[in-house]
């Protein structure tokens, strides 16, 4: 059997097994299966040649009468996202052991269900398959948020769901339209790439895809579902959404949006870049005065994702490579951030920053871990965030110095809201509820140790990760630039 099929379907099998397994072994099974996926990814990585080719190709006629193929493969760009997904799922699963979850079978089954969808999205070379993966990833997270979320979960979740479905539908329309334009009515990405549509049509395609992806990331002004959802979702759901799922949108822009509609990109790319840059500053400023710790992190995530998006639309090697590595970094950091927030919320029963303070004294281990994750988030050199932000800002700079100067404000603004949060939570005097704060326990320590090590390791030695995607990124750039230049 093809190794890539194994990679994609093992989580699905895991979901089915977990659904029917005994309660006592659910967590063990979940941990084990998440590690199996990671091991397969490691195997793929070790056998991966970092050139521009697509490897581990699978191409099965799925519903041939409609031109639908199960066609998937891994190039450098996909490889990074496989790493991201399968590295974070074990961490997220491990962190969820701290949650008091009812109906664990369904909970973990949904996580693995989603993982399968994500892996399809990140490897699909057939538009229909991509769309299926997109929806398969969305639905489980909808249930996770709806069934295990906070008080306002139903209302908030409906908005989240309607938002994303609306985006998906636009994308589906675009895909079907493109499908009908291909000579043999194909969904094959290679056929989509070959299309020579006029620039007005490509403009429509651009917007249809862009809105779908912009909602998912989210990019300003398509973001208003995000703070509510991140806040109300159970922490595991938030981690899945922010750590991995939003990368579907970013990946979509790189793999589908720009290469499929290069002329649309040529016409509208700068608009998208400007929206992204606005989002960076806008969300950062909002984060200044948030008093809900999860909501604050949610807005900070909008700012960071905005920068990634801006780097992509700048469309050069630095911007794209920055986006690639920053997708991984953001995943690691935001999962760490939400995990820390969750530890604090569980101990204090509140998300309100004004009720916290002084925790560094009773919990020095947490203080160190929190600081390391924070430094990665504010992109201090020798942490992972710096490598990504440096390349992203350089990419934006190569496009336009002023956009870079404005997006670069994130360096200052990020420090403001992050340090404010750190001060409100960790520093100052303890109060009656924080004075007896328990420091990290075994599981929490392991999760945060893994995250901290990753943050520093990637910051000091990012080259192995940059090497994975460089050839594929340059190849994609050439491909699109040729089309833009020909016109």
């Amino acid at each position: 059997m093809e190794i890539l099929l194994l990679q994609i379907f093992i989580p699905l099998i895991a979901a089915l097994i977990i659904l029917v397994s005994g309660k006592t072994i659910v967590r063990g099974l979940a941990g084990a299966f998440s590690l199996v996926s990671l091991l397969i990814t490691v195997y793929l990585y070790l056998n991966f040649t970092p050139d521009a080719t697509t490897q581990f190709l699978v191409d099965l006629a799925w519903i041939p009468q409609f031109g639908i193929h199960f066609k998937a493969g891994v190039d450098g760009i996909s490889m990074v996202l496989l790493l991201l997904t399968n590295l974070l799922i074990p961490i997220i699963v491990l962190s969820s052991f701290k949650q008091d979850v009812k109906d664990q079978n369904a909970f973990y089954a949904l996580i693995f269900f989603m993982q399968s969808g994500l892996l399809i999205v990140f490897t699909a070379l057939d538009a229909f398959l991509f769309y299926i993966g997109w929806e398969v990833a969305l639905i489980p997270v909808y249930f996770i948020c709806a069934l295990w979320g906070g008080e306002n979960r139903i209302k908030v979740n409906l908005k989240f769901f309607v938002y994303t479905i609306a985006g998906s539908l636009l994308m589906l329309l675009a895909i079907i339209y493109l499908h009908l334009q291909t000579p043999g009515n194909s969904y094959d990405i290679a056929e989509f790439y070959k299309l020579e549509l006029d620039s007005v049509t490509q403009g429509w395609i651009f917007w249809a895809f862009f809105i779908a992806f912009a909602i998912k990331m989210p990019v300003f002004p398509f973001h208003t579902w995000q703070p509510d959802t991140y806040t109300e979702a159970p922490t595991t759901g938030t981690m899945l959404l922010a750590g991995i799922m939003l990368k579907m949108g970013i990946y979509g822009v790189i793999r589908w949006l720009i290469p499929v509609a290069p002329l649309g990109f040529q016409a509208w790319g700068e608009t998208a870049l400007i929206l992204s840059v606005i989002g960076v500053v806008y969300a950062s400023i909002i984060a200044f005065t948030q008093n809900d710790i999860k909501r604050l992190i949610a807005y900070s995530s909008i700012a960071h994702v905005g920068l990634i998006s801006a780097g992509i639309f700048a469309w050069n090697v630095q911007g794209l490579q920055g986006a690639m590595i920053q997708m991984l970094n953001h995943g690691i950091n935001v999962v760490g951030m939400f995990f820390i927030a969750d530890i604090i919320i569980r101990r204090l029963n509140t998300r309100d920053l004004s009720l916290m303070g002084g925790i560094a004294k009773p919990a020095p281990m947490l203080a160190i871990a929190f600081l390391i994750v924070l430094l990665g988030t504010v992109a201090l050199p020798l942490t992972n965030g710096f490598v990504g932000e440096f390349l992203l800002l350089m990419g934006v700079y190569n496009f336009n110095i002023w956009y870079a100067a404005i997006a670069g404000l994130t360096i200052i603004l990020g420090a403001v809201y992050m340090l404010r949060m750190y001060q409100k939570v960790m520093l100052g005097q303890v109060n009656t509820s924080t004075s007896a704060f328990l420091d990290l326990d075994g599981t929490e320590k392991s999760v945060l140790l893994i995250i901290s090590v990753l943050i520093i390791f990637i910051g000091v030695y990012p080259q192995p990760i940059l090497n994975i995607s460089e050839a594929a990124v340059i190849n994609l750039l050439d491909q699109v630039n040729q089309k833009i230049l020909v016109k």
């Binding site: 004294k361 440096f390 700079y397 001060q423 990012p462």
Partner: protein, 635 residues
Amino acid sequence: MINLVWLIPLFPLLGFLINGLGRNTLSKTVVGFVGCLTVLASFAVSIGIFLELNSSETKSFIIPIFDWISAGSVKIPFSFLVDPLSALMLLIVTGIGFLIHVYSTGYMHHDAGFGKFFSYLNLFIFFMLLLVLGSNYVVMFIGWEGVGLCSYLLIGFWFSNSAYASAAKKAFVMNRIGDLGFLIAVFLIFTTFNSVEFASVFPQAANMASGDSTLILITALLFVGAIGKSAQIPLFTWLPDAMAGPTPVSALIHAATMVTAGIYMIARSNILFTLAPETLGVVSIIGLATLFLAAAIAVSQTDIKKVLAYSTVSQLGYMFLGLGVGAYTGAFFHVITHAFFKALLFLGAGSVIHAMSNEQDMRNMGGLKKKLPVTFLTMMIGTIAIAGLPPFSGFFSKDEILAHVYEHNKVFWVIAVIGAMFTAFYMFRMMFLTFNGGFRGTTDQEHHLHESPASMTIPLIVLAVLSALGGLIGIPAVLGGGHWLESFLAPVFAVSATKTGAMTLDHTTEYILMAISVAAALIAMLYAYSRYVKQAHVPADDRTDRGMLARLSYNKFYVDEVYNSLITRPLDALSGFFYKTVDKAGIDGIVNGFGKGAVEASKGFRLLQTGMVGFYIFMMVAGILALLFYSMYKI
């Protein structure tokens, strides 16, 4: 030996790891030994490198460590540069760093966070060494931001005090404003020279025309970075607040080393600045304004550390003024002498505070010279040195700057000399208030007064010797010296020197200038003596009504208050506006409008359905999966 330069940052990094991991298990003695010895080891290697460089024909060595970041044409190696400038800076950082580590074993002995303190201190030394050693702007930037982090951690060392935690945050944020300038300068350097390596950038820049607009922009942006790190107008207000940190930190980070990074960076980039005379003009004006404003604030401060903090801001202003008029050697000379005497003064102040049971208000001191004779004598040497009285070190470095300023702009010179008068005044005022007259503190404090232990006084003595004799490395020709420093640094500034030409002042003018500045300092000293010793004047308490000027100075010209109402509060208001009005009511309102419309429209269709959305979705996914497995099975 030079090939072993990587050992220099490695030792403190190991110290950081050992003390950081063992902060709860290792004894204070072990922690102190690890902390001090790692820095001493770096100092030893630095001496070896210095000696080798001094006798070597080649004056610049690049030592690659590994490839750090590469993306497309951007290649950023992690590599080190050893040349006269970095070699001297290594000696300062590790040498003074070592003395301050030793001092800290005494000063912090009773603190519960002893291990944490030493691990932070070692981490700081590590980053400072990266800053100094980096062979390109990005590695320099690692150190640049890393020292900012350590500064944050150490200012907020006693984080239970919210004011201290706020001071730490303020320092980090203000530094980051500068860092953005630095970062954009790096991008611009890369697009202009296709490299960020000093060895590649500077020769290319040397061929560019003076006044080239790109060079002006690059240097202006780099200077923004320097303003943040070296606490110049308008980003200076974090430094006085940084005094919240333990006093050895103030001595090491906020006086001797980190805050001079801006001067180091400009001296390093001297060729870029020489070819951007417009930027140099701005540098000199900012330096001049800062040295004067800070000195004018220092004259009425009552907290002994605040006096020294504003003094540091002011002295940094002198260094920038020196850079601005092209006196690169003079500015760097002042970096060195200032490191000696300001570290000494801060450590001396620490000794006083230690003896006074953490009292920092000079109004409650007085008459300490009998109880703290070593502290008094060594601080007096530091005071004479900073006041610019010969033959102590500050005289030589300050006069070298002033001579260049005079040649450049007479008005600037006058203001700088008045600044020097202020300097002498506030320093002697501080000394007299602290050490002369009768004791004004509580009887408890008086009972507890004692000279500090040897671990603290020995560093004071060593620094006092350096403050007294440090000027010998740069005795100018006019005073019969060979100016060793100038010839040692000549390779670093060689290209700039060919563009600007040497100073043309004749010896008579130089003698007169020296005489004037010495006389000015003496007058200020005598005035301070008559006011604080003869008349035994003590500054009034906070509630007293002061005259307009005195009130402005005492309240630091209300700069913090102005920033607060012009920047902080409007930004907070903007945040609330964006959140409540734009996000919640505006964008989300529109979205919800769509949603409501859709719900109304779907009411009719809903009757056809059971309404179990979740059920349908599961069926849909199950269907897809069944289809998938079916088709795959078929194949």
